[in-house]
């Protein structure tokens, strides 16, 4: 049984390899028909996260157009890139299915994944074919502990981001003369929120903060007024929230309504709405002063502005999905360039061995370690100031000074 398995899969690999070898051999013969290499973009185009998928597609398409306009993949004879979109339908199972489909449709490499659960099953599906997969923004640490050699992560992991967030918080707080001493954590009871709460409770005390309470709530939440009531009674200097978009909006609005204004303001890590222009435009008052540590494009990179305009032209609100997917496609293209082949093994090797330009992300040179994690990935601190989301930290990317304490 086993033997048959191996021989067949090897034959399949050979066949695929053969086809691509033929394609690669072709350019000399038929210049007019430029070969194409397919890049799969796995995103939730439907379901609960459809909005995120949409932004990601805009970013990815922008990158593809840029690359093709600049002459395609040069080491593959100017091969043009074609974007295949796989719809993960916002759930883990469909994510695996869509990855299979991308493979069947001939994707040489897949980027995306978006959420941790979806990325988990999708990368596993890709592993069956040793199909290279670069995760765009899923943060769960567990994703990179599986020894899947086809899987890479472009974005910072949760613990990397948490380190940065805590370090920056201390720096900002120190600069204000330690305005904030007590902290309340308000989090959704899912993967993101619970993980954050646990980590913050473990590490904040050592940094001189007192965690007065960690309040969890379900998603979707019907009501935040009782959570806010508790906060009013606790009077923390700083609130660290972690929710998805809807709950963040509900929370911020309820805070505003109940006149709860913690001195230090709101400091979010991967905040659901804090880095969303939609929130900022729809509820400017509730959003003002909110700080977030999140994936964010380098504001000093001119391409980032162009991306923002492209998003606005499509009638959407800008969020990190666009720049990060623009950049991850760029990385994939560079990997193809290095690999000089559209074959899985070569691409994986190229990803392991080289350094990459990070597109519009503030990662400097991206480099993947043995687990596949980009060691130079870095989240940015943002703050809503005057109805704009401004980068406030680290300094080399900062557009504005932090306003801290936000309500001081």
């Amino acid at each position: 049984m086993k033997k048959l398995t191996n021989s067949v899969s090897r034959r399949t690999v050979l066949k695929v390899g053969g086809v691509s070898a033929m394609v690669l051999a072709a350019p000399g013969l038929s210049r007019a028909q430029a070969p194409t290499v397919k890049i799969g973009l796995l995103q939730p185009m439907t379901g609960g996260f459809a909005g995120d998928g949409d932004l990601a597609r805009i970013g990815a398409e922008y990158a593809i157009k840029e690359i093709n306009d600049a002459g395609g993949i040069k080491s593959l004879g100017g091969a043009k890139l074609e974007l295949l979109i796989g719809d993960s339908r916002s759930n883990a199972e469909a994510g695996a299915q869509a990855t299979e489909q991308l493979k069947a449709d001939g994707a040489a490499i897949v980027v995306g994944g978006f959420a941790s659960g979806i990325s988990m099953t999708a990368t596993q599906a890709a592993a069956r074919y040793e199909l290279p997969f670069i995760i765009d923004c899923a943060v769960s640490d567990a994703l990179m502990t599986r020894n899947l050699k086809n899987v890479f992560r472009f974005n910072p992991s949760f613990s990397m981001a948490a380190d940065v967030a805590l370090k920056n918080l201390v720096t900002i707080n120190d600069a204000s003369g330690k305005a904030a001493k007590t902290v309340a954590i308000v989090h959704e009871d899912g993967l993101l929120g619970s993980g954050l709460a646990k980590l913050m409770q473990a590490r904040l005390p050592a940094l001189g903060f007192e965690v007065v309470e960690a309040i969890s709530h379900p998603t979707p939440a019907r009501d935040m007024s009782n959570v806010v009531l508790r906060l009013r009674s606790l009077q923390p200097d700083l609130i660290i929230p972690s929710h998805y978009f809807n709950e963040f909006v509900l929370f911020a609005r309820t805070l505003q309504q109940q006149r709860v204004k913690p001195k230090g303001g709101i400091y979010a890590l991967f905040g659901g709405a804090a880095s969303s222009y939609r929130f900022v435009k729809e509820f400017p008052e509730a959003a003002e002063g909110v700080m977030d540590v999140n994936h964010w494009g380098d504001p000093k990179n001119p391409t980032n502005d162009k991306l923002m305009q492209a998003v606005q032209a499509a009638g959407k609100f800008y969020a990190y999905n666009a720049p990060i997917n623009y950049s991850v496609v760029k990385v994939a293209a560079q990997a193809l360039e290095f690999a000089k082949s559209a074959e899985s093994g070569a691409i994986i090797e190229a990803l392991q061995k080289n350094e990459f330009d990070s597109g519009v992300m503030p990662y400097g040179k991206s480099k993947f370690d043995a687990t596949g994690q980009n060691v130079n990935a870095l989240p940015l601190n943002t703050q809503v100031q005057g109805g704009q989301i401004k980068v406030i930290y680290p300094e080399q990317f900062a557009q504005a000074k932090p306003k801290f304490p936000a309500n001081g």
Partner: protein, 290 residues
């Protein structure tokens, strides 16, 4: 641990939110009491109502509270048609058939909304959403206070409709004795549809009360409907005072338990109440004898 003011305020919060829960449950329990069915499409219909309120505000600039006046007859018509032309004929009176037809309907509605509006959440920004009514040391949210008031008025109105009008009498007759009612010339299919319509119209009011401070997405209704089921079961399936008191009770329980236990565990509390009532006293607090 908490100051009495905070606890009292949580209590008020619970009462005020519970009133809106009760309004949602009123429709559900009315439909159960007459048609003897659990309407699984109730949550989806609440979502429809909320979208209609949102549309009225977004497209025509209507205030959500004013929109209630427009959306209520609309929802009434939708409810009537659904029961008269889809659920009724499709289920042919079988209990299981109705259960499945309403389940199918809820899936259709929810996903039509998804296809039409995608999954973005919609909110209405109003000037008064953040207003508070200071009551001594308490800060009560204005939309919530309005919610409490309107819910109580609606419940009284519903009671008056059932007890003082011809259709109300027909509804009560059908609820008591379907065969007898049809023998004395009451059109049972019409009465069923009217009941469903009234129950659905209640959702329009609930939608209007929620929108100023809440959001709507295609799955929003689902978050409320399980609570509504609990209230209906707790109050006694089919009992209108039961739904009202059950709603207020659940609101208070939720508020107090989330104050002391956190919101996540508060949810389990609701389900446990639900399970316990079903197991121990399926007729609920005010239900008719089985």
């Amino acid at each position: 641990m908490y100051s009495p003011t905070i606890i009292f305020e949580a209590l008020m919060n619970g009462l005020m939110l519970g009133a809106v829960y009760a309004l949602i449950a009123l429709g559900l329990t009315l439909i159960y009491g007459v048609l003897h069915i659990v309407n699984f499409a109730h949550g989806a219909l609440l979502t429809v109502a909320m979208y209609l309120v949102w549309l009225a505000s977004d497209r025509f600039g209507l205030d959500p509270y004013v929109a209630i006046l427009v959306v209520t007859p609309l929802m009434f018509a939708i409810g009537y048609c659904l029961q008269r032309f889809i659920i009724g004929p499709a289920s042919r009176g079988s209990d299981n058939g109705i259960l499945l037809a309403t389940l199918g309907l809820s899936i259709v509605i929810q996903n039509l909304l998804l296809a039409g509006f995608n999954s973005d959440t919609r909110t209405i920004a109003t000037d008064y959403a953040f207003e508070i009514v200071p009551l001594g040391p308490l800060l009560l949210s204005l939309p919530r206070v309005i919610g409490l008031g309107v819910s109580v008025v609606t419940a009284v109105l519903l009671w008056a409709i059932l007890n003082r009008t011809d259709i109300g009498k027909a509804i009560r007759a059908v609820a008591k004795e379907k065969l007898g009612a049809s023998l004395v010339g009451i059109n049972v299919a019409h009465v069923y549809a009217m009941t469903f319509a009234i129950g659905t119209a209640c959702l329009a009011i609930a939608g209007g009360l929620l929108m100023p401070s809440f959001y709507v997405s295609p799955t929003t209704g689902a978050a409320f409907v399980l609570v509504a089921f609990t209230i209906v079961v707790l109050g006694g399936m089919g009992s209108i005072p039961g739904a009202l008191i059950g709603g207020l009770l659940i609101g208070v329980v939720e508020a107090i338990s989330s104050l002391f236990l956190g919101d996540s565990l508060g949810q389990i509390g609701i389900f446990l109440i639900f399970i316990l009532v079903l197991l121990v006293k399926p007729t609920g607090l005010f239900g008719a004898r089985a």
